[in-house]
């Protein structure tokens, strides 16, 4: 019981730290690193290496934090993050059969695209009145390109670290007896 409580507290602290870094630190960096979505990468990491439930909880809690701090309408980040995790979960369950590097990178790219698509759609519908549809704006594609490069790059590094930490991710070969 005590162990679970400590785990829960550490989890909440980790989510809060990630959300705060996402809110204040990352946007202050130069354009390319500023596009990195730490919260999304962390949520997809939890989904891929652990389970759907903690990934969804991470996305929801981080979304609440960001919605409290930022000036988008309340639920913007909750929706973008949780829907991205849902899409990633659907892809992971339906199409990806193993935990390979390629599956991990593909999942990260898919989550990033769905995150930006949902964010663009929500902004188009509820924030920017009378602007072009988000798919027809250069800003959307530039941001998507930057965030995909950042997130997939970070995913590559994370996979290397995870592979170094555990034997589960190493390749194995069936040899004839």
């Amino acid at each position: 019981m005590l162990r679970r409580t400590i785990q829960a507290i550490l989890f909440v602290i980790a989510v809060s730290a990630a959300a705060l870094i996402q809110f204040s630190f990352l946007p202050a960096l130069p354009a390319w690193p500023a596009a990195f979505n730490l919260v999304l990468v962390a949520a997809v990491f939890i989904l891929f290496f652990f389970d759907f439930r903690p990934a969804l909880v991470f996305a929801l809690l981080a979304g609440v934090w960001l919605d409290i701090l930022a000036f988008n309408f309340f639920s913007f980040h909750i929706l973008t993050l949780s829907l991205s995790v849902l899409v990633a979960y659907g892809i992971l369950r339906s199409w990806l059969t193993n935990r390979s590097l390629y599956a991990w990178l593909l999942l990260m790219a898919a989550a990033t695209i769905s995150h930006e698509a949902v964010a663009g759609l929500l902004r188009y519908l509820f924030v920017y009145d009378g602007r072009s549809f988000f798919l027809f704006t250069a800003t959307f594609w530039i941001q998507l390109l930057r965030q995909s490069a950042d997130n997939v790059g970070a995913a590559l590094i994370l996979f290397a670290l995870a592979a170094a930490a555990t034997r589960r991710l190493r390749p194995f070969f069936l040899e004839p007896a």
């Binding site: 809060s16 705060l20 870094i21 809110f23 204040s24 630190f25 990352l26 946007p27 202050a28 960096l29 130069p30 500023a34 759907f52 439930r53 969804l56 909880v57 929801l60 609440v64 934090w65 409290i68 701090l69 930022a70 000036f71 988008n72 309340f74 639920s75 909750i78 929706l79 949780s82 849902l86 924030v127 920017y128 800003t139």
Partner: protein, 266 residues
């Protein structure tokens, strides 16, 4: 189809629904204020670290000494421009006041100093900032935001209890009533152009606008006092078949490097 009671999706939908409901009726507000107040100082520190890295990355391309020299000169030019425009405004004002029998102080402003805690990703092109003062400190939508030299850098867009969102003068749709410091005191409207420069429009064709003219706030519109320097004219677009002419204005400071600002409450 059987639905499991502990399905995480259903739980998530219920939690989000409850959060939206409680936020809508305002029950979450005290909790939101406590959490915002708790993390504001840390957010300011993190923003400062990010900004320092940004500056370090930018400085790599130029020799450090030259860069520092250019920065110093830019600051000096900005300060002198402010001083000069304020002097011109003061002289003009003084002349008018002498003509009046009863003198009345016009610049009866109050300022609220604020630290930038984040760049606003909700703003178009990220051309906005979030500061650590809000409606509790007397801030409201439409107020002018200036830097430490007194140059106007933006406008308050929206406030929460403890924070406020500001748009920078280079943001599209960040509109200010402006005037040129020329003989005719030409008036117009400024808004941001691609997040890089400022565009002054609605300048009548017959008005003479010169490159180098200083642009200040005109004071029309209520919440923003007259005489705050917006920038300097770098080019003028004057088509004979147009009703209005347009000027491109360059801000006198780098708006990406703001860490401390002040909000003017008239």
């Amino acid at each position: 189809m059987k639905i499991k009671k502990d399905n995480p999706l259903i739980l998530a939908v219920v939690v989000v629904g409850l959060l939206l409901f409680f936020h809508g009726i305002g029950w979450l507000r005290p909790l939101e204020n406590i959490l915002t107040a708790a993390v504001k100082p840390l957010a300011g520190v993190l923003y400062g670290w990010g900004g320092a890295l940004d500056r370090a990355a930018a400085d790599e391309s130029d020799p450090a000494v030259l860069k520092a020299r250019i920065d110093d000169l830019n600051n000096e030019v900005a300060a002198l421009t402010v001083a000069s425009s304020q002097a011109a405004e003061t002289a003009d004002e003084n002349r008018k006041l002498r003509a009046l029998v009863d003198f009345r102080a016009e610049h009866d402003w109050q300022t609220v100093a604020a630290a930038v805690i984040a760049r606003d990703e909700a703003a178009e092109g990220g051309r906005g900032l979030i500061i650590n003062r809000g409606s509790r400190d007397g801030l409201r939508s439409g107020l002018a935001v200036v830097n430490e030299s007194g140059l106007i850098v933006g406008q308050v867009l929206e406030t929460k209890d403890a924070t406020a969102q500001i748009c920078l003068t280079t943001s599209p749709h960040c509109q200010l009533a402006a005037a040129l410091q020329n003989q005719a005191k030409t008036q117009g409207l400024t808004d941001g152009d691609l997040g890089l420069t400022i565009r002054m429009s609605y300048i009548p064709q017959l008005e003479k606008v010169a490159v180098g003219d200083t642009v200040i706030t005109s004071g029309l519109g209520g919440s923003i006092p007259r005489g705050l320097v917006i920038g300097r004219v770098t080019s003028v677009k004057n088509e004979s078949n147009e009703v209005w002419q347009e000027a491109t204005i360059e801000p006198l400071v780098d708006l990406n490097r703001l860490t401390v600002v002040a909000v003017i409450i008239p």
